[in-house]
């Protein structure tokens, strides 16, 4: 967790044009900077409308910035021009979006294998890895089901391992468990930590739930309301492996929660 940061965001700006061009433009993100060392599980917390999704979209290079830069492995990625955007930065940045975005015409397994297929890496090793991931998150037996035949939690799991299957060095996650019930959510958080323990990828996990941010992260950043700035940076001292469901009973939890809550407006 030391050395050069793997991912760096420097002075990032993003504004949305005002309606019909007459209103003043709205700055969603202004001069935002932070860095993520290799192998860190970073959680970012902010009120809704604080530009969390926009931030991840820019890091994943599916949205342009109006200023600043994103650096990956000390190289600047071009994000100020829509023409030079390179979504996923050659498969080095995975992105688990808020919606599962499964392809409805593909079975669960075909969806999970999709990245390997388009990357031309669909070999026995890839299939074995997909198989292992399916079993780890409890999707074994649902390989041939279409997305509409799966529950919300299962769809989420499928979309999660679709990104894990090709093992990108950085994975962005945008409130992936937002729409789930508490029970499924806790289950998926445990799954995620278990999977993360296998490879210790660098993860940038965005959420609006303080408990989730503390339970999962090595470090939590707090974003302000738009224009988003970093108003807090909290190392999470709770040792791993963590008991997700009992995280609230840990002696450090209450103080952390209190400090973060004061900064989230």
């Amino acid at each position: 967790m030391s050395g050069q940061p793997l991912l760096e965001v420097r002075g990032l700006d993003k504004r949305f044009a005002g309606r019909s061009g007459r209103d003043t433009a709205l700055w969603v993100i202004k001069d935002l900077s932070f860095s993520v060392p290799d192998g860190e599980f970073l959680t970012i917390i902010g009120p809704s409308g604080s530009g969390k999704t926009t931030l991840l979209n820019m890091i994943a290079q599916i949205d342009v910035a109006n200023g600043g830069e994103v650096r990956f492995q000390s190289k600047s990625a071009p994000i100020n021009d829509p023409k030079s955007l390179n979504p996923g930065l050659n498969c080095q940045i995975g992105y688990v979006t808020q919606e599962d975005n499964l392809l409805p015409w593909r079975t669960t397994l075909q969806n999970v294998l999709f990245p390997l297929e388009v990357q031309g890496r669909l070999d026995a090793e890839g299939r074995a890895r997909a198989d292992m991931l399916m079993r780890t998150v409890g999707l074994a037996g649902f390989e041939g089901h279409y997305p509409h035949e799966l529950s919300g939690g299962m769809r989420k799991r499928a979309s999660l391992i679709r990104t894990l299957v090709y093992d990108p060095p950085v994975i962005l996650m945008d409130e992936p468990f937002g729409a789930l019930d508490a029970q499924t959510r806790a289950q998926l958080q445990e799954d995620l930590l278990r999977l993360w323990n296998l490879g210790r990828k660098t993860i940038v996990f965005v959420t609006h739930d303080i408990t989730e941010a503390i339970a999962l992260g090595d470090r939590t950043l707090v974003l302000s309301r738009a224009p988003a700035k970093i108003v807090g940076d909290h190392p999470i001292t709770i040792p791993r492996p963590r008991d997700i469901r009992g995280i609230m009973t840990h002696p450090d939890f209450a103080a952390l929660y209190q400090r973060i809550r004061e900064q989230v407006q």
Partner: protein, 278 residues
């Protein structure tokens, strides 16, 4: 799945009788409507005479004789092949064009007035022109069917391409998909339901177009048979040809349904459109 298996098993055991009874029960309302229509027709026949309205029994007899004698079948297959060939010639470019134009919204916009005009124009009015150009053989009928089918399928395929979910494309790109992968794995499968809706709408028009072109000038086909019967004051002949035409349309509809159901297995099953399509 289990109920299907059971009904298959029991059907085999009772030599199909149980299945026939079950089918009759399941479709009793449809059968009732059919019986009422036939009865109404018979009533018209009794009231106005066989000369104007033929009779259900007369048409059925003529139909069976026509099938057994082969004459009706040969007219029907002539019309059906015009429809099928025209359908293929019209539907293939209509399906492909929106995909080619996807990358050039400009070209789509430039073509749009032409397409809208072509879609709105009464294609049947083109029949005399096509007969002048292509003669009274199969070519003029195929041309009329093709142009009718083309515009219907083009707009369906176009709306399929436009219904593309940008989030799915972004997901695919982040996962490493190039432009070709996006077209192949995202745009095309997403447009297939729309294309099939186009096929379903265009199918009866293809038969209708062929029959109408034959009405104007032909020496074979169901349209010719209708025209020929009419000039001989043979209402039974007209009704028989109409009945045959309807049968072909039903057969075409059934084929589209079969193919669609195979290709669209991924869709949630209780689809109202599919149920009414059967």
């Amino acid at each position: 799945m289990t109920s299907l298996g059971e009904s298959r098993k029991s059907g085999a055991a009772e030599l199909g009788v149980g299945r026939v009874v079950a089918w009759l029960k399941a479709h009793s309302h449809q059968i009732l409507v059919f019986v009422i229509l036939i009865a109404g027709w018979q009533a018209l026949t009794l009231w106005r005479g066989v000369y104007w309205f033929s009779s259900p029994w007369g048409v059925l007899t003529r139909f069976i004789n026509g099938i057994l004698g082969g004459e009706l079948l040969s007219h029907a297959s002539y019309t059906a092949s015009e429809a099928v060939i025209g359908f293929v010639i019209g539907a293939i470019p209509a399906t492909i064009l929106p995909f080619l134009l996807r990358r050039w919204p400009m070209a789509t916009a430039i073509l749009d007035p032409v397409m809208v005009g072509g879609y709105g124009a009464p294609k049947l009015a083109l029949a005399p022109l096509f007969i002048l150009w292509f003669g009274i053989g199969i070519e003029s009928k195929v041309a009329l069917v093709a142009i009718t089918v083309f515009f219907i399928v083009y707009f369906s395929a176009l709306s399929g391409v436009r219904a593309l979910e940008p989030k799915l494309v972004q997901m695919a790109q982040v996962a490493g998909a190039n432009e070709r992968d996006v077209a192949r794995y995202i745009v095309f499968p997403g447009a297939v339901p729309y294309i099939f809706t186009g096929f379903r709408i265009a199918m009866p028009y293809s038969i209708g177009g062929a029959v109408i072109a034959e009405l104007l000038s032909a020496n074979r086909g169901l349209g010719y048979l209708i025209q020929f019967s009419a000039t001989n004051f043979d209402t039974t002949g007209i009704f028989t040809a109409l009945f045959m035409t309807t049968l072909i349309v039903a057969l075409g509809n059934w084929s589209v349904n079969i193919v669609e159901r195979r290709l669209l297995r991924w869709r949630p099953p209780p689809d109202v459109r599919m149920q009414t399509g059967t």
